[in-house]
Symmetry: C2
Subunit: 168 residues, 2 copies
Amino acid sequence: MKLTEAKEKFIQAWGTLGSSWGINRTMAQVHALLLIAPDSLSAEDIMEDLQISRGNANQNIRALIDWGLVSKEFKSGERKEFFSAEKDIWKVATQVMKERRKRELEPVLKVLAEVRNVEGDKKDKKIKAFNDSIANIQGVVSKADKTIDALMKADENWFVGSFLKLLK
Amino acid sequence: MKLTEAKEKFIQAWGTLGSSWGINRTMAQVHALLLIAPDSLSAEDIMEDLQISRGNANQNIRALIDWGLVSKEFKSGERKEFFSAEKDIWKVATQVMKERRKRELEPVLKVLAEVRNVEGDKKDKKIKAFNDSIANIQGVVSKADKTIDALMKADENWFVGSFLKLLK
DNA sequence: CTGAACTTTCGAAAATAAATGAAAGTTTAT
DNA sequence: ATAAACTTTCATTTATTTTCGAAAGTTCAG
């Protein structure tokens, strides 16, 4: 397979994966492009390679920076900004988990705490079913939250090594 | 807080969580409703509670069944179908992981294997950067795949207990 | 077999999200 | 100070996703 074809395939696949994870397709494609780029790219390079508009490129690049997955670079003699992605996928994964934990898990935990105990007869079937469900969900969600927190502090080798060994 | 209000809040929160995870809002809301319902509900009950149309209810219920999160029940004397959700959230989580692994991770792994080695000079900077990135991504993605596979076989107490202890 | 009680399908409409591109805003060199 | 080189914003357009609801399909009792 030629490099051009392989590159194209990879960018498409990464875009599809991203879009099924709530990250928009273009954002994931820009990320893919930067992941496999040997050097940092300018906004113009990205626009040209992915055939997208300036505004679109700009917004998605900034979203990636916001997620902590891409960083700006300056080249001496150049006025343009250049962008490069974190290449270590393990770091990418933990960074994504960290952001999603903050953006998604925390609000849910907050609501769960709020609805934790409803007024009324605790023996009432409806109230009991509700309370039991919420307690169970809260337990698992908060454990997931703690696990992600812990995972972020662990490095890949530690994780893969000891965790997978443990599973045997 | 009254039960009605708490229920409403929880359904909304679960819907929001779902929609940022590629599961559509209504599907997640139907799931939330079934999670906290003391008894199984009919399509009509769901339509009425969430104020959605028959077609919409039907499609989302079937999607939930397809994901293995909801099951049909028959009540003697009733012709209607009733639906109930798996209440153990840990099982829900592993079920979702299992489905997503199949639907999303596997296709990406397939593409990664395909683009694994491109033609041409292995010393070429572009080719080298591409191959290195792909190798790294493939490593992490396939480890994630194996981890999810292992996780699915572990039960909650085992996982949370020994894993969290290990992290300290 | 027939009709009532339900469930499923599917094209069209509505809602939502993403992309465009021109205009406005910044920064820097001279 | 100003003009060139870039970056950012945002109203519009375009594409995608979701919902609706009527029609078709199914099942079952009588």
